[in-house]
Symmetry: C2
DNA sequence: TGCAAATATAGACAGCGTCAAGATGCCTTG
DNA sequence: CAAGGCATCTTGACGCTGTCTATATTTGCA
């Protein structure tokens, strides 16, 4: 009938048998990952958790991979909502200083650590290396990064940031820092949660200094 | 019959039936991971690859986890050998400048990207989150980080780096950057391999500036 | 009303980690 | 040199996994 658009993480479907199976699968998957880790998530357990048979999820997601992609997309939506809040609500030009950067960093790390089940999927090799990730997921990720670069360009335009800074390179490096810190914390390599704030602030100091005098 | 002393997952064994099974398992595991990815490594495939039965590896490693720990340890040995070369061969005080930092960063990224099969295990959540990693592996990792911090302290002692820099915080943040870049490259999120050098140098610039004027 | 599509189900298959028993070969000790 | 012990390797089995292939049920629409 309607041209099946490869249905990968498709638009709203309204299931009838079970209710809203698709949504429940996504939520249950995130919960399972949060509680038992990504490795412990299995399609069968997931199906059992929402009370359907093993193969029922396959009518909403072609793959386990597709399911994970959809969870990651949900993560990106939450990510954008949280991290870019100040862009929507206030003029960045009015507030940009080291403190603002500190806030941004803390928001980022906070999201990563407290939504690890999403962050792992969004920026983990599992999906990205597989070359099977949804086009919409790629878009979502690309947009998120673009917002980040644009923010820097915006600061530059407002003469709040040195024009000698290459926004793309700066974004790549600083995002690497944020991502690295997040990963080290999530993966349990950096354990001292007391030090998170100090580390964040040290990073902010570094970023700010670079923005001013580069 | 060398005594591989710190091998924790098993005492030094000298297999006779197969030859040096333990070593061959470690090498084959690294190869399999390199060629097909960590997820594709199975104990059965590994056993098949070296020509023994499925359960033979379990006489050398109690777990799949233990096997992976041993591979990671091998990775740490290579890592230290490559990254800390200039510490052993030359006086750091004589050469430390932005160019030296550039070199260090490139070495680090280079190792990570070209030895991804080891890097994934060494600094990936799979082992670290599991709380089952070998004590010797923890030591190895701790030592690597300590070398990194000490290097900064060394620079400070030589008055080449501002004393206002907190070596620990600086090490944490800058390592986060290196780790983040490595992960983003390995995981296929940063794809433009052309940009690696530019990114590395941008990071070096950032680090150097911080070291001088903080 | 009837038909096609959407949705759910059970059955089956190959692959996985790994435990339990049994077989094989080497080293040490008497 | 014989005997026992032990490290090593093998086969068998169990429960788990992802997912393919039917088959059954429900729904929306002509």
């Amino acid at each position: 009938m309607s041209k099946s658009e490869i249905s990968a993480c498709a638009t709203e479907v309204k299931p009838y048998h079970h209710g809203d199976l698709r949504r429940q699968l996504l939520d249950a998957a995130a919960n399972l990952i949060r509680e038992e880790g990504e490795a412990a998530l299995s399609m069968r357990k997931l199906a059992l958790a929402v009370g359907v048979s093993r193969t029922a999820p396959y009518h909403h997601f072609s793959d386990k991979q597709a399911l994970l992609c959809a969870v990651a997309e949900e993560g990106f939506r939450r990510f954008r909502r949280i991290v870019t809040t100040h862009l929507d609500t206030a003029e960045p030009a009015a507030v940009i200083d080291e403190a603002a950067i500190r806030l941004f960093i803390r928001r980022y790390i906070d999201f990563a650590v407290n939504n690890a089940e999403y962050y792992d999927l969004m920026f983990g090799g599992h999906l990205w290396k597989s070359e099977q990730l949804t086009a919409s997921l790629k878009d979502e990720a690309y947009t998120s990064f673009k917002v980040y670069v644009d923010q820097i360009r915006c600061w530059q335009k407002a003469r709040l940031v040195s024009l000698t800074v290459d926004p793309l390179r700066y974004a790549q490096v600083s995002w690497s820092t944020l991502h690295g810190m997040s990963r080290l914390l999530i993966d349990g390599i950096y354990l001292d949660s007391e030090a998170v704030a100090a580390m964040s602030d040290a990073a902010a100091n570094m970023f700010w200094q670079q923005l001013q005098t580069a």
